[in-house]
């Protein structure tokens, strides 16, 4: 029987994964690229909010890399509960923020292994570089990721392969180890030289860092949701709906049982409109202002406070009184309030 010569590439579209793709493809191996959708990609969220401030829409870099190298690509949706549960209970802990990078890589590579098996491919490869990232790309964690994902011996890192033990496809001669590289560390110099040599001309700048979980402000909102649920006697968990809200609007913690999210732009207001079910929707009645949502079970005082903050961020912020409509399903109430003017108080409630 002919040996399989197909491989699965995990690509983000960044420089490293694009180069890994080019290196393996150059060895005549059929490659299928996969790109994981987690719901935490900053670029995707930017696109959902209408693009960059200059009006341009960022391209999907994984798709761009696959198109440039003419490699078949499939998106894999990871944004379901299994992935979210992992984020809340990571076996190997978090990085500097809410980023459980080792667990996340293991989760992704388990799915990659399933795809490898379903496709009859011989191995999985990535653009990981030894020593490039402090948590997930150390020698010991690269090994843990390989072991725990079930890809033992079948996980190739072409950019650092010569610094790592030979994998099964290298030992079997499916991949020529001599044509792989020995790059390590955070410098991108060798990758840029390689890009020029391989004719790879298009990659996103700056490199890396497209994940909200590594963002300090997002991270505070993420843990605030978990802590508030726990304080309210609920399970520490995060659901899909939370993910969109965490990257949208100004967040104010009114109490463990109630949070206010205030839209900052028209696009964010429109996004919030899609998440009104199960939440209260607030908006100033007679003056322009943001759409806001209250999540949870606020007390009467917290309702009034939420209305005052919503009034503060609208055109009526300098008026003595503003009427704010509070809608929950078919129920509509009006609160005539003084816009909140105590900025220190607002800051104390702000999350992120």
């Amino acid at each position: 029987m002919e040996r399989p010569t197909k491989a699965i590439a995990m690509i983000s579209g960044g420089l490293d994964s694009t180069l890994a793709l080019a290196l393996v493809k150059a060895q005549g191996i059929e490659v299928k690229a996969i790109n994981f959708y987690t719901g935490f990609c900053i670029t995707e969220t930017q696109r959902r909010k209408g693009g960059r401030p200059d009006g341009t829409i960022p391209q999907n870099e994984a798709l761009r890399a696959a198109a440039d190298l003419e490699v078949d690509i499939e998106y894999v949706d990871l944004s379901e509960s299994g992935y979210l549960d992992m984020l809340v209970h990571p076996k190997y802990g978090y990085g500097a923020n809410a980023n459980p990078c080792v667990d996340c890589r293991i989760f992704m590579m388990r799915r990659a292994r399933e795809i490898m098996e379903a496709e009859g491919a011989a191995f999985v490869f990535t653009g990981e570089v030894l020593g490039q990232r402090p948590k997930s790309q150390r020698r010991d964690t690269l090994r843990i990721i390989e072991r725990d994902s079930g890809l033992d011996g079948r996980l190739l890192r072409p950019l650092s392969a010569k610094l790592l033990p030979p994998t099964i496809p290298e030992r079997e001669g499916i991949v020529d180890r001599e044509r792989l590289l020995d790059i390590s560390g955070r410098s991108r110099q060798r990758q840029m030289e390689l890009a020029r040599a391989l004719g790879v001309t298009d990659w996103p700048q700056p490199a890396g860092g497209c994940c909200y979980l590594t963002d300090e402000s997002f991270s505070k909102k993420f843990f605030d949701v978990l802590d508030a649920r726990e304080a309210a006697g609920e399970e520490r968990r995060i659901v899909r709906d939370d993910v969109v809200l965490l990257s949208t609007g100004r967040h104010f913690r009114l109490s463990p049982r109630a949070k206010l999210v205030v839209g900052r732009t028209e696009v964010e207001n429109a996004l919030l409109e899609h998440h009104v079910v199960g939440r209260a929707r607030l908006e100033a009645r007679d003056v322009l202002g943001p759409v806001a949502l209250v999540d949870g079970v606020p007390t009467w005082e917290e309702r009034v406070l939420a209305a005052r903050i919503v009034a503060r961020y609208g055109k009526g912020k300098d008026l003595p009184r503003v009427v704010v409509e509070w809608r929950e399903g078919d129920l509509v109430e009006s609160y005539e309030v003084e816009p909140e003017r105590d900025e220190a108080r607002i800051e104390r409630m702000r999350v992120g």
Binding site: A33, N60, L63, A66, E70, V71, Y75
Partner: protein, 98 residues
């Protein structure tokens, strides 16, 4: 109606209009779904088609205008054109011959 630049090797220029697009064998409506799901749905639908058949993808995510030509190039399908039609985008894809 506004045409997005067609993919390299497919129809040229803005002269080709929505009305001139071939009759699709299948239409999918991804309205309300955002990147990358219009492309995910496209991939699933193209798998069901016969070689050479045309798929019409309706989307409200403007990102489809840049995603679809790239996806077609990567997967060796033919991007016939993507057009803005009111609030929606209409993208035509011909399944490549394998």
């Amino acid at each position: 109606m506004r045409a997005c630049p067609p993919a390299e090797g497919s129809l040229k220029g803005d002269a080709v209009t929505l009305a001139a697009m071939p009759q699709p064998a299948e239409t999918i409506d991804t309205s309300g779904r955002l990147c990358p799901f219009p492309i995910v749905e496209t991939a699933k639908a193209v798998r069901r088609l016969a070689d050479g058949a045309v798929l019409l993808v309706i989307a409200t995510d403007p990102g489809i205008a840049i995603d679809m030509p790239m996806w077609c190039k990567a997967t060796r399908n033919e991007h016939l054109g993507t057009y803005q039609d009111g609030a929606a985008w209409k993208s035509f894809v011909r399944k490549g011959r394998r």
